[in-house]
């Protein structure tokens, strides 16, 4: 028995190492040129070519934020203008390193949740992040959404380990890169003052003193202010604010992506545009408090669910946002038996993931398709994400009721 297990483990190790190595090889050797323009993998807010353009303009004395197409944060601009060499291979290396860091952070979070130093499932957790196609394809395209995923994982890791300052620092860097990650603030604060261990099966009211959040919140505000000041210094003015944060709120760029916003606001009449922009932005915020209240005994799960909300409803999503959601599912094995329709979700995703690039190509490249084809496939994709989110919420709540017994059925009233 133990020999077979040992053999299986060895085979798994071998396969895993081979896959990871090949993935790194892919990342380092040139697939990114064909993928850099792919609209599923990078948006105007996370595109690598835009980043290079901004660095070029900055180096030549033109303010990249004076025009209207550069929307990366000044922090990324400064970081990459010093770090990033002109070669694409080194950029791929940097992105791969970020991915590995993200995987490491996910494994640490898993370990913190299990409260052990090492588990046998570590490799599976790492594999679920590194080998998830939704995660490594944007890395190949050098989209800054992969950096975002890694930063989210780092912030969550430090929050799970109880180290407030790094966690909040990463969160405020995240806020600068993408404004919609603000929804993660409350559950991370809650996680910092409670523990990451799994209490899903035994719900109880919030154990710690809620007032301890306030100094942490203050610390977050401080970090954000300092980073904003740094950004202003880097750029030499505050014009980056409407270009970066304003872009998420006013949607000036209607480039197609995997989300629901772009086509909606393409077809929207000008009269109603401000109202619906407000509705869609506030809609993201609605989920925060109810999730945190319902899962107050397990804030890590609330973070996980809010990642699902972000992946479905963000303004400029790429594949890596729902990809992160599905990868993080691997650190909650206790809810896996209670998922009601994982196969349906997986099949919807397969359907959408195959059709989205195809319809995008048909619409924009060959011209034989319509914008509606691609829009319909993004609707299916959103259905898949929604199905996964709903299933995760159900499973997280259902686990508290207990195992399935004959003659009884669990319903909601």
């Amino acid at each position: 028995m133990s020999t077979s297990k040992f053999l299986i483990a060895n085979k798994f190790d071998a396969a895993f190492s081979a896959l990871v190595a090949s993935r790194i090889a892919f990342a380092l050797f040139g697939l990114s040129n064909t993928l850099k323009h792919d609209q599923l993998l990078s948006t105007p807010l996370s595109s690598y070519t835009q980043l290079r353009e901004g660095i070029f303009l900055l180096r030549n004395g033109v303010d990249p934020y004076s025009g209207g197409t550069f929307r990366h944060s000044p922090l990324l601009l400064a970081l990459f203008s010093v770090i990033l060499p002109e070669s694409r291979t080194y950029a791929s290396l940097v992105w791969t390193i970020f991915d590995l860091v993200g995987a490491w952070a996910l494994v640490s979070t898993w370990r913190a949740r299990q409260n052990v130093q090492k588990t046998s499932r570590d490799k599976v957790v790492a594999a679920s992040y590194l080998l998830n196609p939704y995660v490594f394809l944007p890395t190949l395209a050098l989209s800054s959404s992969s950096l975002q995923s890694s930063l989210i994982l780092l912030s969550v890791k430090y929050a799970a380990e109880g180290r407030a300052s790094p966690s909040l620092l990463f969160l405020s860097v995240l806020l600068h890169i993408d404004l919609s990650t603000l929804v993660l603030l409350l559950p991370i604060l809650l996680l910092l003052i409670s523990d990451p261990h799994s209490h899903l099966a035994s719900p109880r009211p919030f154990s710690a003193n809620i007032r301890r959040i306030l100094p942490l919140f203050g610390e977050f505000i401080l970090y954000t202010t300092i980073l904003s000041t740094a950004s202003t210094i880097i750029v030499g003015g505050t014009q980056w604010i409407p270009q970066t944060w304003g872009a998420t709120l006013t949607l000036p760029d209607l480039t197609p992506n995997t989300g629901l916003w772009w086509y909606f606001f393409t077809e929207m009449f000008d009269h109603f545009r401000p109202f619906f922009l407000m509705v869609f932005s506030v809609h993201l915020l609605i989920y925060v408090v109810p999730m945190c209240i319902k899962f107050q005994y397990d804030p890590l799960y609330a973070i996980f669910l809010l990642l699902g909300v972000l992946g479905t409803f963000k303004a400029y999503p790429t594949l890596s946002d729902p990809g992160l959601f599905f990868s993080v599912l691997s650190i909650f094995p206790e809810v896996h038996p209670y998922l009601r329709h994982p196969i349906v979700t997986a099949l919807i995703h397969l359907h959408a993931a195959l059709l989205m690039p195809l319809f995008n190509h048909l619409w924009l490249n060959t011209g034989t398709g319509n914008a509606n084809f691609f829009y319909a496939s993004t609707l299916v994709f959103a259905c898949g994400n929604g199905a996964g989110l709903i299933d995760a919420v159900w499973a997280g709540l259902r686990i508290a009721i207990g195992k399935e017994t004959e003659g009884y059925v669990v319903v909601q009233e």
């Binding site: 180096r59 030549n60 004395g61 033109v62 109880g162 180290r163 300052s165 790094p166 620092l169 740094a230």
Partner: protein, 394 residues
């Protein structure tokens, strides 16, 4: 006390107004037949709402009406011509600079002297309604405004593709019968017309005037609900149909009308022949207060106005004042100013970002970037040190 004074003022003003209107009415009564029109000027709004070469006939329709109203006396300044596309200088046109309305190409409707006020993309439903109601932006020039008043007779002609209670503009948007009815009502409220003659040549045209509710509107359309309007003839050299049947027969009739013609609108409507036109044109006259046989065609199509012949000035015994002395009131000629040749430094351009990797700019940029990065790095170091010194509670 104040109320009494107010009532006095009100009474005085209304009596003045009544006196004026009676003077004006007298003028019109004196010199014309009882059912004659009381207008003093004529305006025409001619709209071709279709784009693309195969809708050549719609542009020919509108241009045919344009030529007719111009011939009968409405000047260009009182005509608003809206053509959604350029048929005459279109690259597909074998006869550049010309638009013909019959297969034999006898009459060039474009001619040498034409002013198109709204062309191409400017022909939109919004612009049309703005023109009618007068609610235009301040920057819109005079030639694009309908400056009609209470005594204007306005001839509105529309042609294009349409259906039951709608007309398509440029294959992209629609104007509905309700929109036009509301626009006319606004015109009525703002006293922008004396009488309106509305003519429309499109499929199911009669539905377009079915919703009017303002007084003094006479309307006619080319086909009833459920019927199409057909073109008249193709021209083999131009390659498309060149005129619509309804407009063709109207224009043919108008050939016999000149500025002094006394033919009435009833005569025009009597010439409608559904067999020849292949559809049933309709007339709506319930909102029109005069009998149709007393409404002259030139009341709408021509630029004929009421004129009163008054006796020569000497007979009236009016002495004329001395003409004003202009000599001293002319402005002094402009002062000669020193003339400076332009040099680049006098330009105050918009800041155009110059790409320069000059040393000074470079240094400043580098300092800024490193400054920002150091700030971030210091923050990170402080955050990590702070957390390291505070052990997590397991």
């Amino acid at each position: 006390m104040h109320l009494v004074a107010f009532l006095h003022v009100l009474g005085f003003l209304s009596s003045v107004w009544a006196l004026n209107t009676s003077v004006v009415n007298d003028f019109f009564e004196r010199n014309s037949a009882p059912g004659a029109s009381k207008h003093t000027n004529n305006w025409a709004v001619l709209v071709c709402a279709s784009r693309y070469w195969f809708n050549y006939r719609h542009m020919a329709n509108a241009l045919g009406m344009y030529r007719t109203v111009k011939r009968l006396g409405i000047p260009d300044s009182n005509i608003i011509l809206m053509l959604a596309d350029d048929a005459s200088c279109n690259l597909r046109n074998k006869f550049p600079g010309s638009v013909y309305a019959n297969p034999g190409r006898h009459l060039d409707l474009y001619g040498d002297n034409i002013e198109v006020d709204y062309r191409g993309y400017e022909v939109t439903v919004e612009n049309f309604i703005r023109v009618l109601t007068g609610r235009v932006e301040p920057s819109v020039p005079r030639s694009k405004r309908l400056l009609s008043d209470e005594r204007s007779n306005v001839f509105v002609y529309m042609t294009g593709h349409g259906g039951n209670e709608f007309l398509k503009f440029q294959d992209n948007e629609e104007i509905s019968a309700f929109d036009i009815a509301d626009a006319f009502e606004q015109m009525y409220q703002k006293k922008r017309y004396n009488e309106i003659f509305f003519m429309i040549d499109t499929c199911q045209a009669n539905s377009m005037y079915s919703k009017f509710y303002s007084p003094n509107i006479l309307a006619t359309g080319s086909s009833k609900v459920g019927e199409n309007s057909y073109s008249y003839a193709n021209d083999n050299d131009i390659g498309v149909a060149v005129i619509d049947a309804f407009t063709h027969y109207i224009l043919e009739y108008m050939e016999g009308i000149n500025k002094t013609s006394q033919m009435s609108m009833q005569d025009l409507f009597n010439t409608y022949n559904p067999d020849k036109i292949n559809s049933h044109p309709g007339v709506r006259s319930d909102l029109f207060r005069r009998p149709l046989d007393q409404a002259l065609i030139t009341d709408f199509f021509g630029g004929v106005a009421q004129a009163e012949v008054i006796p020569p000035i000497e007979d009236l015994g009016i002495t004329d004042d001395a003409p004003p002395d202009l000599g001293d009131s002319l402005p002094a000629p402009e002062e000669a100013t020193s003339l400076v040749k332009v040099s680049p430094s006098l330009f105050s351009h918009r800041p155009s970002d110059i790409l320069s990797s000059s040393n000074v700019v470079d240094k400043k940029r580098t300092v800024q970037m490193w400054g920002g990065l150091c700030l971030v790095g210091g923050l990170a170091a402080w955050a990590f040190r702070k957390s390291a010194s505070r052990r997590p509670n397991a």
